[in-house]
Amino acid sequence: MATAKPTKGTSASAGKRPTKAAPARRRPAPEKASARSTALVPVPKPDEPERPPIGDPRRSDIDEWGRSERMRELARTLYRPIYETWHRVEWEGLDKIPTEGGALLVSNHAGAIPSDAPSIMHGIETELGRPVYGLADEMFKRLPLVGLLWSRVGGVLAHPDNAYRLLREQQQLALVFPEGTKGTGKSYQDRYQLRRFGRGGYVQIAMRAGVPIVPIAVVGAEEAMPILWKSPQLAKLVGLPYVPLTANMLAFGPVLGPLGALLDLPSKIRLRVLDPVHFDVEPDLPRYSRSRIMDESEAIRQRIQEALLDMLRHRESVWFG
């Protein structure tokens, strides 16, 4: 309620509107002057000088996706020992990841708290110096603190509109795990057996955005946090996709207590980047052939599965690779 009477100012800034005062206004015809006059008594309105608009006084570096480069830097610093010493992550074919332009990275997903996502994001960001946005389930956003931290370090809800904007308009790298929680929630005896790749939505997004898909096969994340047993009742109760008993709880629990459930086993993680898949279709179409999408999705799944089996064939030890 303070000072502003911005009529004049507002109308001036609206453009074509003339800002002259009362005389410019239409008056009733003079012949009616003998009747009751309806002419106007101008209301005094102070001519307030238009205040210059304030720029964009941002104080944090949090972008529209909720990512903060400073937080990301901190996360990389904290994760470096785990990446380099604990898991001794090794890449194969990192040069197949484009150094510019958008691309959708697609990988297999494993471990109760999966270590594949941070490994891929950390590796690409340190080696190529490009940010990677991790597309994740809405579950993250529902959980207090978890969702907040996840978005600060580059997590984004896996929504087609978000993916399109990241890939097409901002030409970024986005990482997606089409298996979702079906991949991370599988028991240890099902390790390295890929689940269904969603409904192929990731292929459609890549087609719409006109970017290639880069498949990545990850070996070692399964053993970093194997699920021995799951409680569907408990999961339903707390509203999580699964509540597991992991080997980590048994191994570290007695020493570290509840924190032990968060610590990975020191498995060797190997990542193999496969040849990018370019779709020869026109981008920005509202819909693409369902059969084409399912064929492409199935082919990508097959290639990752074969790469996994090949990598396992050559793996001599879970811990030393």
Partner: protein, 345 residues
């Protein structure tokens, strides 16, 4: 012949300001303002009609004053102001009556601008970061305000389809901030400590009040038709919004927040309606590129609107935030119609 404008909700912040701006426009012949309450800004030639939005009155006004342009700024988007029954009456029933009146046979109406809100998108964890005008909301509405606004937009859509010769524009405004407007969000930011939900730091988007008025005038000037988001550039986290206002956050528990909020609003401590709690958890972004493409230029970004609001917050203790103007019917009548007043022609 100039425009003959009907403004619903003359007493609302928007109605009054738009009327003031239109008064300065020689292209506008007649301005009729309708509201249940008296205008809150000083007006020169706007005719104020105290009335509710019942059908027969609206139909008579539209016909008698040969209204060709309607600015529908009556819609309630702040559910802390009144009961949900009143919101339903004003938003849903009022709009229904207005469009019934405007679509009468041989109706002179050619242009309609509706002031809606990005509340129609809701706020949910499944939301995209940016809503465009075609996006659908992720979950069904849980509050009366959102439900009625959706119903309102339904009536507008029907009207636009049935009357293709009328240009109808729906402006969906994001959270509005500015020196003079009071909204649920601005009330939170005016508190000594700003409520937040622990473990969440949603991204907020704001539009400055002058940009709101300018957008309505822009729609009138250009004869815009269609749906447009009106929101400043950029999203900023709630913690940063509070920081720009120089406030600390008061974290509320993330579970049972609704249970806590209800007694707080009963006691009159803070009003945290459902739609605001959703927003404090998940935030909302509206893509403003469509209106920009139509030629509109924003003067404030989201963060700029917050900074300007923060300046006015510092000023408020000094000026006391009193109303500068009070409508007095007899005085207004005297100045407008009395032969005793000497008018310069």
């Amino acid at each position: 012949m100039g425009k003959r404008v009907l403004i619903t909700g003359l007493a609302t912040f928007w109605g009054g300001r738009v009327a003031q701006a239109l008064e300065a426009d020689p292209e506008v012949d007649v301005i009729v303002g309708l509201d249940r309450y008296e205008p809150t800004v000083q007006l020169e030639r706007t005719e104020y009609v105290r009335s509710d939005e019942s059908y027969s009155i609206l139909a008579r006004i539209v016909k008698a004053a040969r209204i060709d342009t309607i600015v529908h700024s009556f819609l309630v988007v702040d559910s802390t102001m009144m009961s949900s029954r009143s919101i339903h009456e004003i938003n849903t029933i009022g709009t229904m009556n207005l469009f019934a009146a405007a679509s009468a046979p041989e109706s002179p109406v050619r242009e309609v601008v509706v002031k809606s809100s990005t509340l129609v998108y809701g706020a949910d964890p499944r939301d995209p970061v940016w809503f465009d005008e075609q996006s659908r909301r992720s979950k069904p509405p849980s509050s009366t305000v959102e439900r009625t606004l959706l119903a309102v937009e339904g009536y507008v859509r029907d009207f636009a389809v049935d009357n293709p010769h009328v240009s109808v524009s729906v402006l969906r405004f994001s959270n509005v901030l500015g020196p003079d407007i009071h909204t649920p969000v601005s009330k939170l930011l005016a508190l000594p400590v700003v409520p937040a939900i622990f473990g969440f730091d949603p991204r907020f988007q704001f539009v400055h009040e002058t940009d709101v008025i300018r957008a309505i005038l822009f729609a009138l000037d250009t004869g815009l038709s269609g749906i447009y988001n009106v929101a400043g550039d950029g999203l900023l986290p709630w913690s940063e919004v509070a920081a720009i206002c120089g406030k600390r956050l008061l974290p509320l528990p993330p579970y049972g927040t609704g249970l806590l909020a209800r007694p707080l609003s009963r006691l009159g401590v803070i009003d945290l309606p459902v739609e605001l709690l959703d927003l404090l958890r998940h935030g909302r972004g509206a893509d403003n590129r469509r209106l920009k493409a139509a030629g509109f230029e924003y003067r404030f970004t989201s963060a700029g609107a917050v900074a300007d609001f923060a300046q006015s917050l510092r000023l408020r203790p000094v000026t006391g935030g009193k109303a500068l103007y009070e409508y007095q019917s007899d005085v207004e009548q005297f100045f407008r119609h009395s032969p005793a007043v000497i008018r310069e022609d």
